[in-house]
Amino acid sequence: MPAWAQASNGTLLAGACAGCHGVTGQGGQGVPSIRQTQNIAEFVSTMQAFRANQREATVMGRISRGYTEAEIAALAVFYARAQ
């Protein structure tokens, strides 16, 4: 079994994103797809912009500020792999 505890776990963290963006981040019903974020750097910079209030948002500013750098990196890798 994979070691889920060894680092910030993308699969587990992405469980939160799945609530609105879908199990694979596919979006739908007006919720943006996050699979379209083609690479790790783009995902990270988007989340950084949300955190800094530099990107217009409804909920994502409030959400992104709850996660650490390592967690955002783990999510970026998860969604990059989910292409």
């Binding site: 019903q29 890798v77 792999r81």
Partner: protein, 430 residues
């Protein structure tokens, strides 16, 4: 925030080990997870376990063949949705390899590690997840029992009473009638739910019975997203809604169903054309019978894993658990489910537990194209469950937004609410 290349690489390595094919010790960590309750907590746990842990055997025990969600029931009241659109079956979950058993779980034997079913069968488990939802405290409001709830619906537990009953009463109500609501003190299922209900009833009345009024009698002095709801009520339904908190004699202590009358703490008697009583609540019976609940009727759990503090190898999820500051919401139950399953898998494999990060978003509809939200990110340690400082919170208030941006913000959040509902129900039942 600057992300170092090293952080990204480290995350990449962790993810690689996740996706790696399972090798020789594939059966290490194998075990039987049994889940009681097929709502947001239980169905999410089943799906997450099936998707990510092929070594686990997953059984879901749920007495009903279909599940009607509590979320979006208020849209049925508004006349925007029908019951079929908020009702789901378990066939897809079964198709994914979850053993779905449509029986009542009647007892848990923690010593023998077995669940007893209504038909007498015993289901053995290595780890048990209990996600039973709530029971209503009949009699906590004097006179409010199951019989009274037929005349004064609660509309709070779909398995006990479909929201369509309250909808039918609203449709039959004469224009100019008063819709009276009784709202309980904390803790209760879905903290913003009563106020979304007020909003959706107001939307219907404004359209169909504009001379009608809503009187909300609340056993609390404040409520979830209060400034946002009250801004919205003033904007969309001026003069229609009267909300009375506990300091203004808002607590309903007695009802007389035959007279369609409620009585407050200080003895005021109020009649309504339609009366909606949301009574005090507690963890579902199976959890209380199994010794999982405390004296208050709710289940204490370890913040990092949602394992019961009272009975080992049993995890309690969702509305039944004591998880403050997380709300009793479907979204919260779903992220608790994923953490609990990952903890169970780790524990069966003899590995340390994953870090506990939980998440919640609750959208509420206030009117057409008018949605609001509350968001929270939470972390669980051995001792505590805390909200991450500087994150989360509610949508911005009207006064802080330009008129154009305000309309767009509310419209988008109503739209995203629908997106959440679609994604969440699709994850569980699609």
């Amino acid at each position: 925030m600057i992300l170092s290349r090293r952080t990204v690489l480290a995350a990449g390595l962790a993810a690689t080990s996740l996706g790696a094919p399972r090798i020789a010790h594939a059966q290490a960590g194998a075990g039987r997870i049994v889940i009681i309750g097929g709502g947001f907590g239980g169905a999410s746990a089943a799906r997450f376990a099936r998707d990510n842990f092929p070594q686990l055997d997953v059984t879901l025990i749920e007495r009903s063949r279909s599940f009607t969600t509590c979320p979006y029931g208020n849209l049925v009241l508004a006349g925007r949705r029908d019951m079929a659109s908020i009702t789901f079956g378990y066939e897809r979950l079964a198709g994914r390899g979850v053993r779905v058993v449509h029986q009542s779980a009647t007892a848990i034997d923690p010593a023998a590690k077995q669940v007893r079913l209504g038909d007498g069968a015993a289901v053995p488990y290595d780890r048990l997840i209990v996600s039973p939802g709530i029971d209503l405290r009949w009699g906590a409001i004097e006179g409010y029992d199951e019989a009274a709830s037929a005349r004064m619906p609660h509309g709070w537990v779909p398995a006990l009473q479909p929201i369509s009953l309250l909808r039918a009463q609203l449709e039959a109500m004469p224009d100019g009638g008063v819709f009276v609501m009784a709202i309980p003190d904390n803790p209760f299922r879905c903290p913003p739910g009563p106020y979304e209900r007020i909003s959706m009833v107001a939307e219907y009345l404004k359209r169909a019975k504009p001379r009608s009024k809503i009187l909300a009698l609340d056993a609390k002095s404040g409520f979830s997203k209060q400034p946002l709801f009250q801004d919205g009520w003033q904007e969309l339904y001026p003069g229609m809604i009267d909300w009375r908190g506990v300091s203004n004699d808002g607590r309903v202590t007695r009802v007389n169903a035959a007279n369609m009358e409620v009585e407050t703490e200080f003895g005021e008697k109020i009649r309504g054309a339609v009366i909606n009583i949301i009574p005090p609540q507690m963890a579902g019976r199976i959890a209380r019978d199994a010794g999982l609940a405390n004296q208050g009727g709710w289940c204490p759990v370890k913040p990092a894993s949602f394992e019961s503090t009272q009975v080992p190898d049993i995890h309690v999820l969702g509305d039944a658990a004591i998880a403050a500051p997380m709300p009793k919401s479907g979204f919260a139950a779903s992220t608790q489910a994923k953490q609990a399953v990952a903890c169970i898998a780790a524990s069966l494999a003899g590995q340390p537990l994953p870090p506990a990060v939980y998440f919640n978003t609750c959208y509420s509809h206030v009117g057409k194209d008018y949605g609001i939200s509350i968001v929270g990110v939470f972390r669980g340690t051995a001792e505590r469950l805390v909200e991450v400082e500087g994150s989360g919170g509610i949508s911005p208030r009207n006064a802080t937004l330009t008129p154009e941006r305000r309309a767009e913000h509310r419209r988008l959040e109503a739209h995203y609410a629908d997106g959440w509902y679609e994604s969440a129900t699709n994850e569980m039942f699609g």
